[in-house]
Amino acid sequence: MSTSGGVGGPELASMEGVLDFLAERQRAITSNLANVDTPGYQALDVRFRQQLDDLLEGWRLVQTSKDHFQSEFPETSAIEWAPIPGLVDGPDGNNVELDRELLAMTLNRLRFQMAIQGVTGHLRAIRTAIREGQ
């Protein structure tokens, strides 16, 4: 899903995908925090349907030629909700770990800021290119 109308190229669409993904992860975390004491509730997280989480972790731009960078990022529609591995059910069937969620929220926020800076830098570069082309 690209809201920029293609003007930024596939790189911008990929970066928007990152922001969407991280926003949905924040939503998953808020759901876990709101239901930290709900009996039977299972904590959830976002992931890509094709198990492409490692793309997010080790995401880097691949230089396909001297002047062109290609970024690969799955489409937003491939996102799904998934259980979190390694959690244990309490006596009421709830498996939310409050500290894990708070830490995840901090990390997510940092990644979001990094992604925003990436988009900002990209948009500024486009704007500069447009100006200098005039």
Binding site: L33, A34, V36, D37, E80, W81, L123, R127
Partner: protein
């Protein structure tokens, strides 16, 4: 926008934990109340939490696996009265003592209530923090429009 929905979800957590805190405070304040308008000692109360949809939930993808649901809020589905019997203590001089000299005290364990209170307060704070974080994410996204 999913981040606005995130704020609604956190808001439901704040409300629910606040109701839980109020219930615990009521239990603690009435831990030694031997006389109520309904007759008999104070009865311990507890809230029952239930997952609930809040705001507008956007359909996410074509097929959803059913192992977990999607992000949801929470609500208090029931204010339940604890069915445990009152604690009997021998005190024949007490104005509410029965014929055998025993007084029926509330089925409230102050230590247990205090532990629950700490837990509820922590969960409350965590949901408040989540609202702040979601708000900041939205604001940073809006900053993209102003380079």
């Amino acid at each position: 926008m999913s981040l606005l929905n995130a704020i609604s979800i956190s808001s439901s957590g704040i409300t629910s934990q606040r109701q839980r805190i109020e219930t615990i405070v009521s239990n603690l304040a009435n831990a030694r109340t031997t006389r109520t308008p309904q007759g008999g000692p104070y009865r311990r109360q507890e809230v029952v939490f239930e997952t609930t949809a809040v705001g507008r939930t956007r359909p996410f993808a074509e097929e959803l696996e059913a192992r977990v649901g999607e992000p949801m809020g929470v609500r208090v589905s029931e204010l339940r009265v604890d069915g445990q019997p009152p604690q009997m203590a021998y005190d024949p001089d007490h104005p509410d003592a029965n014929e055998q000299g025993y007084v029926a005290f509330p089925n409230v364990n102050p230590v247990e209530e205090s532990v629950n209170l700490i837990s509820a307060a922590r969960a409350f704070e965590a949901n408040v923090t989540a609202v702040t974080v979601s708000q900041r994410l939205i604001e940073r996204s809006l900053d993209l429009g102003r380079l």
